[in-house]
Symmetry: D2
Subunit: 353 residues, 4 copies
């Protein structure tokens, strides 16, 4: 279990890294939404591997097929089922690891939970699982666009290199999704160097939602920031989430942290667009701490299924830094959370206000 998200906009993903395919069913999309297969494909293309030097070279077209829920360019109000076939699953690449727990991967915990031997490519624990999320997110994105909401992301930092200016348009053109034209080369050089050393890098992804009106989100357990943090933390490799100024606020005083107001609105947005779990109307800003890709070719210590210590070196098709591929997934999760919050809000208070 665990592959179902949402109560009113319900997203169910399926698929393993080396099985027949991956996909998602999205239930709860209103009828009549204009939606093209190409729009879903466009978001998938932003996440798929094999597109640059900085992502896994596994050749997956990630071509989406719409199995249901869409006719004549409009949604039917019934579940959208979206299927992506696996095309380049080379289980042989993982034969060496079928009885070893790869450090930093879910092999050990899946074994402890399910009693299963490590699956090729991590099975359900693979990052490929997020393809279904991105496809679902593309649908939510369309729903939000009708309300004027726009969600974007970029790689704020990789290792020690941090973007200082933010140009989201530039990030879309950069292989690492760095938003700072002045730092992009430095960031790429660092990744190149570390990869050559057989190692990998962590980083920070920032996701921003613009145009969310004040009033979305629900108090207590369904706070918008709680839902968003949970959703972003559900992305593999994410080890931290902060909203607005986040951890920096822990070192500040109230007079430095509050967003005061004038007749023109909020004077600052330190809260990152959410107060008391409800959107303020300011941009929603979240940052994700992404751990370094665990699959590295440097030698590491691990054990086999019998608990006997064994050295391991992982050569294969791995991203040197996960940030550029997590960005689109983070956008998808943000879109899904916002669309759910919007529907909850509309159910009682309508689209007005």
């Amino acid at each position: 279990m665990g592959s179902v998200l949402g109560r009113i906009l319900t997203v169910t993903t399926f698929g393993e890294s080396h099985g027949p395919g991956l996909g998602v069913v999205v239930d709860g999309v209103p009828a009549g939404l204009e939606l093209k297969q190409e729009e879903i494909q466009a978001d998938l293309d932003r996440r798929r591997p094999g597109t640059s030097d900085y992502v896994s070279p596994r050749r997956e077209p990630d071509q989406v097929e719409v199995l249901s829920g869409l006719a004549g360019g409009r949604t039917l109000g019934s579940p959208l089922a979206l299927l992506i076939r696996n095309r380049d699953a080379r289980s042989g690449d993982y034969a060496d690891f079928s009885r070893l727990f790869r450090p930093g991967q879910a092999d050990f915990t899946y074994f402890a939970k399910y009693g299963l031997d490590p699956q090729p490519g991590g099975g359900r624990g693979s990052g490929r699982e997020t393809a279904g999320r991105v496809a679902a997110g593309a649908v939510a994105r369309k729903l939000l666009a009708r309300e004027g909401v726009r969600v974007l992301s970029y790689t704020l930092a990789v290792g020690g290199v941090r973007a200082e200016t933010i140009d989201p348009g530039f990030a879309e053109t950069d292989a690492l999704r760095c938003p700072d034209p002045a730092r992009a080369k430095e960031m790429a050089a660092l990744v190149d160097r570390v990869r050559e050393e057989g190692d990998s890098l962590g980083g920070v992804v920032e996701v921003v939602a613009q145009g969310v009106p004040a009033g979305w989100g629900e108090p207590v357990f369904d706070k918008l920031d709680a839902a968003l943090a949970g959703a972003l933390f559900s992305i593999g490799a994410v080890k931290g989430v902060e909203i607005g100024e986040g951890f920096a606020l822990a070192g500040k005083r109230g007079s430095e942290a509050n967003d005061q107001m004038s007749a023109q609105g909020f004077l600052t947005n330190r809260a990152g667009g959410i107060l008391g779990g409800i959107s303020t109307g300011e941009p929603i800003v979240a940052r994700l701490a992404v751990k370094p890709t665990p699959s590295i070719s440097l030698p590491q210590r691990t054990v086999d299924l019998e608990g006997k210590e064994r050295p391991i070196e992982i050569h294969g098709r791995h991203d040197p830094c996960l940030c550029p591929r997590i960005g689109p997934v983070a956008e998808a999760m943000t879109c899904l959370v916002l669309a759910e919050a919007m529907l909850f809000h509309h159910s009682r208070y309508g689209r007005g206000k």
Copy 2:
């Protein structure tokens, strides 16, 4: 909506700051669990106001009444309903603010969402709402204790003062819940000084779960870290959550971030006890960024319900730093998340391993 947590261990809180009372209904507790009202009371006493110089002086005994679900010292398998009457609600304290949006509070967003004037004490948005959570958490704590799980917390940092040694037992005796005997006075002195200046401080709370066996948590959306992060983020004033080394991992390499294994088990616990969303058997470690208390007596700019700019100074009964009171709430949320994950796991794989 938004006051219901969990699908199999379902927690529903209710109550406003200045209404007749607060409480919680916990459905899904197995029959036959030994539970005493005093055990619930003990956890409530750790959170309640009026207990030291560093928390709000509002005098609330926070005496819990068990309305259902318990007989003869054992749970009945039916919902536990727990009620705490408000005793010291002075609505008059808030009369000045009934038409102003207090900066950093939910007044503005509740108004935007519900069309309600600001409620005394923040109404449902008040920190008092967490009393119900703590009561529910005490029940979950008992359930976890049967499995050998123990959850604790402390104030890791306040403003710039950070604990360097961790003595959880000391934290229980310290008014700020500082775990470092050598730093406790410095921390207290900082809070004293800032409070005298009419300001407040943020900080960092750390929560630790010991004894969680490997295998709890579900992949994809119900990852244990995702559920935990969402639950911790649902606590008011929390603006960031990290698990294990968290944001620090963003600046590291894979070789520095992976937890390697020997025949004796994991060599490190940088992951904070969770891999692939499933517990590893190592201690689960989470940190919360807590923003400074928004209610401060320094002058601030804000607007009234008509949008006209108005200055505001908030004098009243406020905690100078929320960390010592958030600790017990963070424990409660952690207990609830772990108990739910345990029940999900047991439903399929039993209590054995």
Copy 3:
């Protein structure tokens, strides 16, 4: 578990027959709904015992206290917590049965499930549990009234006596809630006679929802009739539910069963107001088969906790026929289901149409 209903309008009941009290928390009610405590009380008064010769003489005022969610005559958008204290719980009445499984009651199954000895009055399995449902239903009723929806019920049949004309207003004045002035005496006489014989009677309750617009309900698993049937079946003693012509349609032909249409709308309402799981705009009509009260004073065979056969005669305060008290509960469940369906529909399609 099992005491939580709904995903968007969430109702959690609590309480045992002989514990401190009963109640309910309703989360998801929109802010600003006009609601008076007396309106909730009025619905409770229609269900409570001690009001006539035909219901249990247990003296329970069933006085409701609003603990949260309401201020100044309007809902706050936060959970409504409603508490009803038990006043006349005489556990001694059940002392004889504390080690016997009463036939037709949940004693045996609760013992099998929970390992609990039979609780006084059935504990959580008591019909008193429905007080919380009725209180919640009163809130949903108000929400529906804003949309022009009205829900009513009556006792269609008791034993072999069946109402032939339906006057819902008369039913409100009749102790058995019989809607047929010409049959009310006959129905009462039958109940008198059977009760004197130490026996009890089953019957049929009909519930009708008027004014539901076309379009509420969701396909497949959340069909309006599926939700309604499940909710009505959750009332103790209900052993069958049918909508529209129900079981009679099993013996008919398509040409006799379809509701044909003219320019003025449906020519008949054999479907009972629901087609394909979605409301048609015609009145929604459901009937509940109610089994005879299981507690009878005639001698019966049963076993004790050790499985040894023992005779049993149950003297005490029992309703001779449950129909008059199930009517208000059936209305409450219908209101809750309709309000949930309405909110789901509004979340996507607004209140228009």
Copy 4:
């Protein structure tokens, strides 16, 4: 929305009658369950059209493809995604009805809800949607078989012809799934005659679950009978559900309705295996009232999308009586409800007892 069932064993169906395909994702199946694609196929073959004179001649092989969740003959603990392609969708058959509301179908209500023109074959409202349910039910059936539970069904009555002896094995060989060898021909003759007259017939399906241990099901809203009734009512054309003696109990006395006990157990099973919402250990018996197939070739009155009255005659590929195809769907729904109840029970009380 509405296509998601269950909270711990989560079933999401998708697909329209004339779209690319149908299917289901089942999340929550434990890892390690032995499962073959042919077992799923076997259940699908019992439901699919084109297999006899008494079901629609639409030629659909209903061949299932397992997209995920299964490897090496065992489940992986991850979602099982099952896909069935539509092969014989002739949209042209429905061209005449694209602007008319077919009586007794969901065309009108889907139009009212979604603003959609009637879809070919009813779109999502088609009986073909149940293919996904049957596939999911086959998985739940395997899960239950491990616990010794067996679920079967038969056509108890068609029009006025009712089976008097029950031979479930015979039913499996009969085109109408009649369980009474002595009545099967009469039943078939009635269907033949009515079909020739351009009309259709309703009937009653009975479903039985054997081997369910005492203790499954949860009180109040998640009662086993409530969940079962809701699930069975979610099958199109079902207008009534009763458990045990059902509506007949409404006409009886307590002394005739209670199941008394001896040292050997229950003396009768009038309750149909459920007391207080929890299984008794006796067979669970439910009956479904199935309305006549609404698509008939006799002339009927209806209106078009503009509300103008228009006559309609529906010639095409329709089942003369839906009972034989609803039986396997009712089994599937029963299996899903029981498996969910089992997992809920196991989560707290284990498999023992």
